[in-house]
C-alpha cells in the first residue's frame, strides 16, 4: 500500500479519471430506473406501429446516441467540478461539486467521526473505492466521494483521521484510537458463516420477505394499471381479465402457494447476498471493523461508544443451534435514517456474542431481577382475540353463508392466537440490573433489547386514570425507545426514580 504524502490533499483534488465512467454509469442507471419500463413499452409500441415500417431503426438509434452523448457530457462536467481538499487555515475538509448550481460542503476536521471505504459492483468493475465521511452530529454520511483509486482512498482516509484526531482535543482519546495502527492491531477476524446466515434468515425474517413481496406485487399492479391507461389499449387489460377468468381452483392454489414461497426464497437469497461472508474484527478497544457483501462490499467501522442499544433476536430453533440475530443500534439524531444506523449480524454464535458483549460492556450481559406485567394484560389480549374471531365468524356466516363447519376453523384460529398470546405474555418482561436494562418481548420470536442506564436520555411513566394500579414506561435513548405496558405502577415509579438519580450522577457520556 502506497502511503500518499499529506501535502497533496492541501490543494484541490479530483477523483480518479475512471470516475467519469462511473458517474456515467450511475446516471444511466438512475435514468433507467426512472424511465426504463416506460421506454421499453414505448419502443415496443413503436416497433409495432406503421412509423417503424417507414423509418426503421434510424431515429431510434439517433435518439439513443444523443441521449448517451448528453449523459456522458454531464458525467464529465460533474467529474470536472467535483473537487475536494483540506483547508488548513479553516481547519476543514472541503468538497465542491455541481454543474450549474455549485455546491460547497465544509466539514470541520474536529467534527469528523468516522470514515468508511466501500465498493459496489460498478466500483469493483472500475477498481475504485467510495469514501464516506460521517460527522458526530448525524448518523448518515455527510460527504461521499464515489471514485478513488485504492492508494488515494487509503491515504485520504488516514490523513483525514489523523487530522480529525489532532483537532479533536478535549475528547480524551487514548493512543489506541489512532487509526494508523489499525493494520498493526491484527486481532482475530471472526466469520459468521453462510450456514448460520442461511438459517437465521430462513427462520427469522419471513414477515419481512412477505411484506416486500406484497409491496412489489402492489407496485406492479398499480404500475400496470397506469401503463394500460397511458397507452390507452384495452387489449392488454382484456387479455389479463380473460386469463384471470380461465383460472380454475387448482391452478389458483398452485399460484397462491408459489406466491407464498417467493418471500422465503427472495428473502433468503437477499440476506445471503447482502451479508455474504460477514466478518468482524476488534481493531482496538474503541472500534469494531465489519466487512460483508457479495456484490456490494461493505467495510464499516463501528465506534464502540456510539452504541445505544443492542438487540438479540432468536427463536426456539435458533437457540437450539446456539445462534441469534444481533443488531447494534447507533445514536441517530436524524429522522427516518434508522435503517442506516443499525448494524446487523445474522446468525451470530453465542461465543461470538460473548466477545461482542465484552467489547461493548466489558462484561457479559447480566439479567438481574425480573419484573413482569400483570396477568390482566393476558386476559385482555385473549378477550380481544375472542371478540375478533367471533366477529369474523359472524360476518362470514351473515354475508358469505359460511357452513357450520367453518366454526371449527374459527376455533382453531382462536386456539392458535391464544397460544401466541400466552407465549407473548410469558416472554414479556424487564430485567433490571445495575449495569443493564433488558426488555424482553415476542411470542415465537424472542427479542431482547439491551441498554445501559447511562445511555438513557429521558423517561416517561404513564397510567390510565381508571386503572391507576397499572403503569407503562417508555425509556428513550439516542437511538430509540424501549416500552412496556401493564406493569405495576409503583414498581415502575420507584425504578424510574432510581434510574434518574443514576443517570444524573453518572460521569459517563452517552456518546
Amino acid at each position: 500500500m502506497e502511503t500518499n504524502n499529506t501535502a497533496t490533499f492541501l490543494s484541490p483534488n479530483r477523483m480518479s479519471r475512471i470516475g467519469v465512467l462511473l458517474l456515467f454509469v450511475k446516471q444511466l442507471m438512475l435514468y433507467m430506473r426512472a424511465f426504463g419500463l416506460i421506454l421499453i413499452l414505448a419502443v415496443y409500441r413503436y416497433l409495432r406501429s406503421e412509423a417503424f415500417e417507414t423509418y426503421g431503426f434510424r431515429y431510434v438509434l439517433l435518439l439513443l446516441f444523443v441521449f448517451f452523448a448528453l449523459v456522458l457530457v454531464t458525467a464529465f462536467l460533474r467529474y470536472r467540478n467535483f473537487r475536494f481538499y483540506i483547508d488548513q487555515e479553516a481547519e476543514a475538509f472541503i468538497l465542491e461539486k455541481g454543474i450549474f448550481s455549485k455546491e460547497k460542503t465544509i466539514i470541520r476536521l474536529e467534527k469528523i467521526f468516522q470514515i468508511n471505504l466501500q465498493q459496489n459492483v460498478w466500483q469493483q468493475v472500475f477498481d475504485v473505492y467510495e469514501l464516506e465521511v460521517e460527522t458526530a452530529g448525524s448518523a448518515r454520511a455527510e460527504v461521499r466521494i464515489p471514485a478513488l483509486s485504492e492508494p488515494v482512498a487509503n491515504a485520504l482516509k488516514i490523513t483525514l483521521q489523523a487530522y480529525a484526531l489532532q483537532h479533536r482535543s478535549g475528547d480524551n482519546i487514548d493512543a489506541a484510537g489512532i487509526p494508523g495502527e489499525e493494520v498493526a492491531a491484527s486481532a482475530d477476524r471472526r466469520y459468521i458463516g453462510t450456514g448460520n446466515i442461511f438459517y437465521a434468515s430462513l427462520l427469522s425474517h419471513y414477515g419481512n420477505g412477505l411484506r416486500v413481496t406484497l409491496g412489489f406485487l402492489l407496485v406492479l399492479w398499480s404500475q400496470f394499471n397506469d401503463w394500460a391507461q397511458l397507452f390507452s389499449s384495452q387489449t392488454e387489460e382484456e387479455r389479463l381479465m380473460s386469463w384471470w377468468e380461465a383460472l380454475d381452483s387448482e391452478r389458483l392454489l398452485v399460484i397462491v402457494v408459489l406466491l407464498l414461497l417467493i418471500p422465503f426464497v427472495i428473502n433468503t437469497i437477499r440476506f445471503v447476498i447482502k451479508y455474504y461472508n460477514i466478518s468482524y474484527q476488534v481493531l482496538n478497544p474503541r472500534e469494531l471493523g465489519i466487512d460483508y457483501g457479495l456484490f456490494t462490499l461493505q467495510h464499516r467501522i463501528f465506534q464502540v461508544q456510539k452504541l445505544q442499544e443492542l438487540n438479540i433476536v432468536s427463536n426456539w430453533f435458533l437457540r437450539k443451534k446456539g445462534i441469534s440475530f444481533v443488531t447494534l443500534l447507533q445514536s441517530d439524531n436524524t429522522v427516518g435514517r434508522r435503517q442506516k444506523s443499525t448494524t446487523v449480524f445474522p446468525g451470530m454464535s453465542d461465543a461470538q456474542l460473548a466477545q461482542l458483549e465484552g467489547l461493548f460492556f466489558g462484561q457479559r450481559i447480566q439479567q438481574g431481577t425480573v419484573i413482569r406485567p400483570y396477568v390482566n394484560k393476558l386476559v385482555l389480549a385473549m378477550l380481544l382475540r375472542l371478540a375478533a374471531v367471533a366477529a369474523l365468524g359472524w360476518f362470514a356466516t351473515a354475508f358469505f353463508e359460511m357452513p357450520v363447519e367453518g366454526w371449527w376453523l374459527a376455533a382453531l384460529i382462536l386456539a392458535w392466537s391464544w397460544l401466541m398470546a400466552v407465549l407473548r405474555f410469558r416472554n414479556d418482561a424487564f430485567y433490571l440490573h445495575k449495569d443493564f436494562i433488558i426488555r424482553q418481548s415476542g411470542s415465537l420470536r424472542r427479542t431482547r433489547k439491551i441498554i445501559e442506564p447511562h445511555k438513557i436520555q429521558h423517561m416517561e411513566v404513564f397510567r390510565k386514570i381508571w386503572r391507576p394500579k397499572f403503569g407503562s414506561i417508555a425509556i428513550y435513548t439516542a437511538s430509540g425507545v424501549i416500552y412496556g405496558s401493564w406493569y405495576d405502577y409503583d414498581t415502575l415509579y420507584r425504578w424510574s426514580e432510581g434510574l434518574i438519580s443514576e443517570v444524573s450522577r453518572t460521569s459517563r457520556n452517552w456518546m
Binding site: I456, Q457, H458, E460, F462, G480, Y493, S504
Partner: protein, 201 residues
C-alpha cells in the same frame, strides 16, 4: 443520595412529587381556541348542509352532535388541569400531562441539549409561556409543557440552564452542553445543506 425536590414547591415527601400546577389562565386560551375552532367547524357544516340540500332535521342533529362532542372535549380539558404540572428537582425536571393517560416525563439535567420558551399570540396576551426541553433521544421527540406563567417559565429555564452548565464544569470540557450546542449547530447546518441539495435537484 436522594433526589430531593427544590424551591418551587413547599411540600416535600419521600416518594411523592408535588407538582407546581400550571396557570388556570391557560384554560382561557384553550377555551378561546376551542371556540374559534368550533365556530369554524359549525360554520363549515352549515355551508356544506346548505349547499347539499341536507334536510334541516339531519343538519341540526349532526350539528348538535358536534357541539356535544366539543363540549365533552372542553370538559375533559378542564378536568385535566388537575393533573398538569411541573416539578423542578435537584437532578431532573418532571412534567405531568394528560388526563385519560396521565404521563410523567422525567428529564435529567445532564441529558438536556437545549431549552426553549415559546409564546404564541394568546400566550403573550395572558402572560404565559410554553417550555420545551430537547434531549438527544431519537427522532424529533420534544418534551413540552404549556401554560406556565411567563416569569416562572423564565425562572425554570435559567435554573435548568444553570444546572446544565454546572454539570458541564464537573464533567470537564467534553461535557454534554458543548456537545449539545455543537450538535444543534450541526443540525442547523444539515438542514441548510439539505435544502441546498434539494434546490439543486
Amino acid at each position: 443520595m436522594e433526589n430531593v425536590q427544590v424551591a418551587l414547591s413547599t411540600m416535600l415527601q419521600a416518594r411523592e412529587v408535588s407538582f407546581e400546577p400550571i396557570s388556570p389562565r391557560y384554560f382561557t386560551i384553550i377555551a378561546i381556541r376551542w371556540f374559534i375552532f368550533l365556530l369554524a367547524v359549525l360554520g363549515g357544516w352549515t355551508l356544506i348542509a346548505g349547499l347539499n340540500d341536507i334536510p334541516l332535521a339531519t343538519g341540526l342533529l349532526i350539528g348538535g352532535g358536534l357541539l356535544v362532542a366539543a363540549g365533552i372535549w372542553l370538559a375533559v380539558m378542564k378536568l385535566s388541569f388537575k393533573y398538569r404540572g411541573i416539578a423542578v428537582r435537584e437532578y431532573d425536571v418532571v412534567f405531568r400531562t394528560g388526563f385519560i393517560n396521565i404521563t410523567e416525563t422525567l428529564v435529567p439535567y445532564n441529558r438536556v441539549q437545549h431549552v426553549k420558551l415559546i409564546r404564541g399570540v394568546f400566550e403573550k396576551m395572558f402572560g404565559l409561556s410554553a417550555l420545551y426541553i430537547y434531549t438527544a433521544a431519537g427522532g424529533n421527540h420534544n418534551l413540552s409543557i404549556a401554560g406556565l406563567k411567563a416569569a416562572d417559565a423564565e425562572k425554570i429555564k435559567s435554573y435548568i440552564m444553570d444546572k446544565v452548565r454546572i454539570g458541564e464544569e464537573v464533567a470537564g470540557p467534553a461535557g454534554d452542553i458543548q456537545a449539545a450546542e455543537a450538535s444543534a449547530e450541526d443540525q442547523d447546518n444539515e438542514h441548510n445543506r439539505e435544502e441546498d441539495s434539494h434546490g439543486n435537484q
